[in-house]
Amino acid sequence: MEPFKTLESRTVVVARPDIDTDQIIPARFLKGTTRTGLGKHLFAGWPDFPRDEGARVLVAGPNFGCGSSREHAAWALVDYGFRAVVSSSIADIFRANALKNGLLPVAVDEAMHRRLVARPGARVIIDLAQRTLEFEGARVTFAIDPFARRCLLDGTDELGFLLAQQNAIAAHEKERAC
């Protein structure tokens, strides 16, 4: 995975709350066996999705990515070109999936969220090392799991870390006779 350091981009805004993964990528596009080529089906059911191929940052309403666990939602967003999703809250499974695909989930406070939603196409700068998002001269800090941040900054993935735990896993299996 490509390391994620800083990102400067204009935004695309979809302000609706509770955007579920069925909206991000409808189930009829889940019949493939690869991770690629899903970008063209992103928000396929939404004729009003503001398509902007050059934008890297999606600003969305609260509880973005709720519903189905389909990682296809993260794959579709990345394939389309997004590298970060900014909201006031992001659903658990989607957040985990996004992080594994170099798509940075950024949860900002509601005041900043309102300002971003009001200005589609505005430029933002996201600095992962500093955990900051900058917009029209204002800068906010966002929370992110330190381990996930490390993985993104280094461009490594969790599987490598887990594979390095083989001994501990074997010990656990032995101890619990499982």
Binding site: P26, A27, G32, C66, G67, S69, L162
Partner: protein, 472 residues
């Protein structure tokens, strides 16, 4: 030390499965007892193993089925959609390459992943269970910590039998009183979701407790835990009791003889200790609940069937108002409109929420000796081949057919509309499934979620109806 402090059921399961505890810098490494696999979310995970030259660490702890894209046409097991066929073939190939038990289309134990796990006795108290599927929360009904994961994590579990996890918080939903006649587990969970909201359970494991929960059968408990994810929760959980043990006794994969006694002794310790603390709590009165139906485009937008569609103007917050306006427009509903009598064209009885034997019995109890309304299409899709067989032994298939409903082969079917079973644009359906998202049951389809009883009543009336009027 933690041992002497009262612990919740969740904490007990969590601690027993820690390969290593979490620190500030790294999440916990959590051991997975049972990994369930289906065709849609696994091919890319097996591809990761192939790319990295990895093997499945514990194939015997991995069980696969075909459910999401399988046809449900009566008596036919031919997959016409070439993409679906290729995906199913890939699952077959992956399972044989890695020595994974597969319940393929047409085989005896095939069915929806969350129906067959419990049915075979694979799902047991105290386990950690994962699947690349958000409704894995269903298995929590047995006092297992069960949760949905993405495909990258499916690869992690295949390769290491472990996941990296931060410990979720706990939320107790205590349900007092008893459900009244005509009110079911589905109505209860819809009410919980309405109370919590779509994100109310985020970051939490919900433990359901209280007399109304204890009075539920195992199948009803599965319905409740199943939809925990619709409130954003990581998992749903119910402490095991005699109902749990009775359900499991004698199931093909449940422990036997001495092993059963040992398991039972352990399982009896799997309750939240008196005085154990939850991060949050919520109490609901079961006796106050009524048959419920959703009117919007997410499962939190529900009301009693005897109620009315809310008015967006009554909402203060602009984003919520806009969301409700858009939902009503999509659903073809007017603010203030009564729900009873709203015409529907399709009824879907099925899905991992409500496709088990008791669900089919409930629907059949209303349809027996009655007819489906003219021009209404009713699909009854059992959750598994075993459910189908048991229902046929009781003659339920006859009841459905005589009423004018379709009796189909098991699978996810119109819950996710990947297999050709789907709504046409603008069609309204009462469905016993779990998601009424825009387009979920087919592009432009309008879904009203309800219990099997309410769905059967709607089938008879051709409109949203109150099942209590038809109960004898």
């Amino acid at each position: 030390m933690a041992q002497s402090e009262p612990r919740t059921l969740f904490e007990k399961i969590w601690e027993a499965h820690l390969v290593s505890a979490e620190t500030e810098e790294t999440p916990a490494v959590l051991y997975v007892d049972l990994h369930l696999v289906h065709e849609v979310t696994s091919p890319q995970a097996f591809a990761v193993l192939r790319e990295r030259g990895l093997k499945v660490r514990r194939p015997e702890r991995t069980v696969a089925t075909m459910d999401h894209s399988t046809p449900t046409t009566p008596g036919r097991f031919v997959v016409e959609d070439a993409q679906c066929a290729a995906q199913l073939a890939e699952l077959q190939a992956n399972c044989s390459e890695h020595g994974i038990e597969l319940h393929a289309l047409g085989s005896e134990q095939q069915g929806i992943v969350h129906v067959i796990g419990p049915e075979m006795g694979l799902t047991q108290p105290g386990m950690t269970i994962v699947c690349g599927d958000s409704h894995t929360s269903t298995h929590g009904a047995f006092g297992a910590f069960a949760f949905g994961i993405g495909t990258s994590e499916v690869a992690h579990v295949l390769a290491t039998q472990c996941l990296l996890q931060r410990r979720p918080r706990t939320l107790e939903v205590r349900v007092e009183g008893r459900l009244r006649p005509g009110v079911s587990a589905k109505d209860l969970i819809l009410a919980v979701i309405a109370r919590l909201g779509m994100a109310g359970g985020a970051g939490h494991v919900i433990e359901y407790s209280g007399p109304a929960i204890r009075a539920l059968s195992m199948e009803e408990r599965m319905t409740v835990c199943n939809m925990s994810i619709e409130a954003g929760a990581r998992a749903g959980l119910i402490g095991p009791d005699d109902a749990t043990f009775q359900y499991l006794a004698g199931r093909p994969r449940a422990p036997r003889a001495e092993a059963w006694e040992e398991a039972l002794a352990l399982w009896r310790t799997l309750t939240s200790d008196p005085g154990a603390r939850y991060d949050r709590s919520l109490t609901i009165d079961a006796a106050a609940l009524e048959p419920t139906v959703t009117f919007g485009t997410n499962p939190s937008m529900s009301a009693p069937v005897v109620g009315a569609v809310p008015d967006p103007q009554s909402l203060q917050e602009p984003a919520s108002r806009a969301a409700l306006e858009r939902a009503l427009e999509y659903m073809g509903l007017r603010p203030g409109q009564r729900l009873l009598g709203h015409p529907i064209e399709v009824v879907f009885i099925g899905s991992c929420t409500n496709s088990r034997l008791e669900d089919l019995r409930a629907a059949a109890s209303l349809l027996r000796g009655r007819k489906v309304a003219p021009r209404v299409r009713v699909l009854v899709v059992p959750g598994s081949r075993q459910v189908k067989r048991a229902a046929e032994q009781e003659g339920l298939d006859q009841v459905f057919r005589e009423a004018g409903a379709e009796w189909r082969e098991p699978g996810c079917s119109m819950c996710i509309a990947m297999n050709g079973d789907q709504l046409r644009p603008g069609q309204a359906a009462v469905s016993t499934s779990n998601r009424n998202f825009e387009g979920r049951q087919g592009p432009g389809g309008r879904t009203f979620l309800a219990s099997p009883l309410t769905a059967a009543a709607a089938a008879i009336k051709g409109a949203i109806a109150d099942p209590r009027e038809l109960l004898r």
